[in-house]
């Protein structure tokens, strides 16, 4: 399906990452924003609010993040594509409803602009400390999709992608950006509406009285209906059967929750997206995502200039993690270098998927914030010179 012309501001604009995210949402057909303001995600709301009257989108500023995501889930069942925007502490408050979104299989998008944590941290400084939280932060078993844009253009593109994934698989999708990308102003090309592919909601089309809200298609994804159509369906956060009625047995738990996990795991090959350059003959592969990949690309270029065979694996989707691709590369490359703006999160996944076939070097958050090109460069150099297989992650001081 093509995008609704109404929401697409086609043309070339100079936008900040945050603004691009709002534009992406409107282009993807998002018509409801539930928000609670928090630095540094505010510009998304501001842009959305400014444009909302022109596009016919609604919004509400709720009393906290807990209710902001609750409202978004409610709005999604009215047939409107919905999103919320937040940052670290807000994301923590949303964790309970992330689980509800998973359980009710409600499509929605959560944009998280990461600042330094934990606690109140340093809201205005970029970090990537919520990556694991996006995957593991709510109680119980679930899988979600998380995207990590590294530029305003990607903020726009990935936001659309996020809405598409959320509609396709009926899950909450997280856009894991950070304060750096959010503030960065760059040229963003917004294509004409007819060049933007938008995933329509997967509506149920059969007879009214035989509708079952959680009857799964072959790909484990159930069909949805809007409220007010006379289906009079019931959905619950309790473990439920196809009808959406709570049944609390071991068997039903298996029947209900296993597909929640499997609908993503078995489609992982379709969802996972990476951008690779020169990985095939590389000695060292730099795995990066989001803002760090900007610094990584610079370091890679410098390393290449000094004659090191280095490739780049940039994660578009951090979750699901590109397990197979990393395992493949591990057999060929000598080492991975993983720069992150945290104390080691995604690097654990890299380590797991190397199966001892390649060393893993971790470049933690440098003192210079985003710009730690030099640290990455020295890690690449060290990685290319280390011949012995080391056990565990080698962390650069």
């Amino acid at each position: 399906m093509k995008a609704d012309k109404n929401g697409v501001l086609s043309g070339s604009h100079v936008l900040s990452g945050n603004q691009a995210c709002a534009e992406g949402a409107l282009a993807a057909g998002c018509r409801f924003l539930g928000l609670y303001p928090i630095v540094p995600s505010i510009e998304i709301s501001e842009r959305f609010l400014e444009r909302a009257p022109q596009v016919g989108a609604t919004f509400i500023q709720m009393e906290d993040e807990v209710s902001a995501l609750a409202a978004v889930l409610g709005a999604s069942w009215t047939g409107k594509k919905s999103m919320t925007v937040t940052s670290g502490p807000g994301l923590s408050l949303m964790m309970e409803h992330l689980g509800l979104g998973v359980m009710l299989e409600t499509p929605c998008v959560i944009a998280d602009i990461q600042g330094v944590g934990p606690g109140l941290g340093l809201p205005t400084h970029p970090a990537q400390g919520d990556m694991m939280q996006a995957r593991w932060g709510s109680h119980g078993d679930y899988e979600i999709v998380a995207l990590a844009p590294s530029s305003p253009q990607e903020m726009f593109d990935y936001t659309i992608k996020a809405f598409n994934f959320s509609e396709r698989y009926r899950i909450p999708v997280a856009i894991m950006s950070d304060a750096h990308v959010a503030r960065l102003k760059e040229t963003v090309l917004i294509p004409p509406a007819d060049q933007i592919n938008v995933e329509p909601r997967r509506y149920y089309e059969g007879a009214k009285d035989s509708y079952l809200p959680f009857k799964r298609d072959k790909d484990f994804v159930p069909r949805m209906v809007d409220i007010g159509q006379g289906y009079r369906f019931h959905v619950t956060g309790l473990t439920h059967d196809d009808r959406g009625y709570p049944i609390m047995f071991e068997e039903c738990q298996e029947y209900n929750v296993h597909p929640l996990v499997w609908k993503i795991r078995q489609a992982a090959d379709k969802i996972v997206e990476v951008q690779e350059t020169d990985t095939d003959e590389a000695d060292v592969v730099v795995v990066s995502y989001g803002a760090t990949s900007r610094a990584a690309l610079k370091a890679i270029k410098q390393a290449r200039d000094s004659g090191i065979k280095v490739g780049s694996l940039k994660l578009v989707t951090v979750w699901p993690f590109p397990e197979k691709r990393v395992a493949e590369l591990a057999k060929r490359a000598r080492a991975f270098v993983v720069p992150e703006m945290n104390c080691g999160q995604v690097v654990l996944e890299v380590e797991r998927n190397t199966y001892g076939e390649a060393n893993v070097f971790f470049v933690p958050h440098g003192d210079n914030g985003v710009e730690h090109t030099e640290d990455i460069l020295s890690a690449i150099k060290q990685a290319s010179q280390t011949n012995v297989a080391k056990s565990g992650i080698i962390e650069l001081a």
Partner: protein, 294 residues
């Protein structure tokens, strides 16, 4: 139970079109008043002549939280304390939907207290039915913010030390446009109030008092369901229009019921639409100012 089920197949329940008969029997205990409140609600829905297809009902967690599962409307059983927030999303995204929040006191007033006062302040157009059973019943009888002073509960084994909320006063002072309180003895009056509240524009709150027969009455040795009904009969005073600040409930004291607030305030959507048309006519009046900010 088996006999009951066979009967329900043979005879048509008068509210069959509004109840999920395939979910019967329900989970509520004997002596529980939630069923009465549900019946009153379904009757009110018919009386108010609202198309059931346009009604969404949202519940939270707890005994009353299960109501959504038994009412045959578009029904949502959400997380603890958040039904009002969830319902706000539905109402704002789809203003033509009639939204009803049906939940318990612990859900709406304890953990959901913030959403309750803020939705009342915004005057979101919805009906909130709060079944007040004086306790957290689903989890086994813990003290609630509605438990009368000195009453026993499992987490107040030596008597409740916190004074309870006066729900109508809280609703009134936060800005609700319709506030009424009845007990489950007053089925007809409760139904009438719900009918009125359903037709009201704005945030309407109806409190239905129905102390939990299992965990409140028993622990406090107040007898069974019939004794509770007798108690209401003897101790309820109906005072319409009473100042909401006089509506405190003590331990086994007089309960004042009635319709206390019925006023007009612009609802959230009215204000929103007003704003929308202002914006569209006036344009973005502060655009320049905002643009200059870094």
């Amino acid at each position: 139970m088996e006999a009951l089920r066979t009967d329900s197949k043979q005879e048509i329940h008068p509210m069959e079109n509004l109840l999920r008969m395939d979910r019967m029997p329900h989970i509520w205990c004997p002596t529980c008043g939630i069923g009465i409140a549900v019946t009153a609600f379904t009757a009110a829905l018919e009386k108010a002549k609202i198309d059931p297809n346009t009604v969404s009902i949202v519940s939270g967690i707890g005994c009353t939280g299960r109501v959504a599962g038994y009412v045959k409307l578009d029904s949502f059983h959400t997380t603890h304390g958040r039904p009002i927030a969830f319902a706000t999303g539905i109402k704002v995204a789809s203003p033509k939907t009639k939204v009803v929040v049906f939940s318990g006191d612990g859900d709406l007033i304890a953990i959901g207290g913030n959403h309750f006062i803020h939705a009342a302040r915004r005057n979101i157009d919805m009906l909130v039915v709060c079944v007040n059973n004086f306790i957290y019943a689903m989890t086994g009888g813990q003290v609630a913010p509605t438990t009368p002073l000195a009453a026993y509960a499992t987490t107040s084994p030596y008597g409740c030390v916190e004074p309870p909320f006066n729900i109508p006063y809280l609703a009134d002072s936060s800005g609700a446009v319709y506030v009424a309180r009845w007990t489950t003895l007053h089925v007809r009056r409760l139904t009438n109030s719900l009918t009125e509240a359903l037709q009201k524009k704005g945030f309407a709150v109806v409190e239905a008092i129905s102390p939990c027969g299992m965990y409140y009455s028993r622990i406090n040795r107040l007898g069974d369901g019939l004794d509770m009904m007798r108690f209401y009969h003897d101790n309820v005073e109906i005072r319409h229009g009473e100042d909401t600040k006089n509506l405190d409930i003590g331990f086994q004291t007089k309960i004042i019921c009635g319709k206390f607030v019925d006023r007009e305030r612009p609802s959230y959507m009215e204000r929103y639409n007003q704003w929308l048309s202002d914006v569209k006519t006036a344009g973005r009046r502060s655009g320049g100012q905002r643009g200059s900010r870094k």
